[in-house]
């Protein structure tokens, strides 16, 4: 009997900068930034209300219901 390989891609429903998205949970913060072509040196990331140290972008993976904020500097007075 042939056994089929079940390749289930787990999706995570997240909120990124207020926008609802569905992403593969294989994304780390680093790959997420890459996907949106964001230079990690010019931004700051907040995950569920806590600031993420930039050294940990590679180590943190997106989970279901995560709320992520990516901010940068704009003109202001």
């Amino acid at each position: 009997m042939k056994v089929g390989v079940l390749n289930i891609l787990i999706m995570a429903k997240i909120q990124l900068n207020g926008r609802k998205l569905e992403l593969s949970s294989k994304h780390s913060i680093t790959t997420l930034l890459k996907k949106y072509k964001i230079d990690g040196k010019k931004i700051a990331v907040e995950l569920n209300g806590t600031i993420v140290n930039r050294n940990k972008y590679k180590l943190i993976y997106i989970k279901n219901k995560d709320k992520i904020e990516i901010v940068h500097f704009i003109g202001g007075g």
Binding site: Y36, I43, I70, H72, G77
Partner: protein, 257 residues
Amino acid sequence: MKKDIFKVGGLVLKSRLIVGTGKYKNFKETAEAVKASGASMVTVAVRRINILDKKKPLLTDFINPKIIKYLPNTAGCFNANESLRTLRLAREMGGWKMVKLEVLGDKKTLYPDMIETLKATKILVKEGFKVLVYCSDDPLLAKKLEHLGAAAIMPLASPIGSGQGIQNKINLSLIIKNAKVPVIVDAGIGTASDSTIAMELGCDGVLVNSAIAKAKKPVLMAESFKNAVISGRQSFLSGRMSKLFYADASSPLKGLI
């Protein structure tokens, strides 16, 4: 003569004019105006990145934070917690410890909520921030901010973006007289001469955004502000003449034909 140095929170700034980077047509114009103003520090805001627009230009591409010091602000924050969140993110972004705190209390006047401002100042100082604080022109509250460890006091001249100029010289003078930290007039400056007056009152610096960005020729206005602030400072250091009630002829009467 002793060199006139402008030092805020341990940092020496070349110019006593600090400029805001909001309200310009585009980043190119912002960068040109900043250059013309001679400012070595600019205020910036912290906002969400637009994730859908991948090609959107960044402020940092036009104004190099390694050359021009960024002073992150908390514009748009209406309580202490929102402003703390914003400034902690700013610090994470590039290690910015010198920040401009502004906690607003009213959407129409953008008047500062001083109770929340005092609360946030206390926490930020404890966390090691150098806090430049936008505040009302109340001399007692300004002193309280200083006691809490504010690096500079930034009283408003008139409401943010109103261009109404200096409305309460007496309060500003009282704040300046009492302060042991720099006093930087922030908000309400409408034209170059307003900044000269602020400097003549004895302010240590001036923060200007709208008056430059909303001028018909922002880059020229930026240069005008540069000169106006230098002029006001020199005038302050020179010590003005006393005012007389009657005339006093400038030409000698001796030898009159």
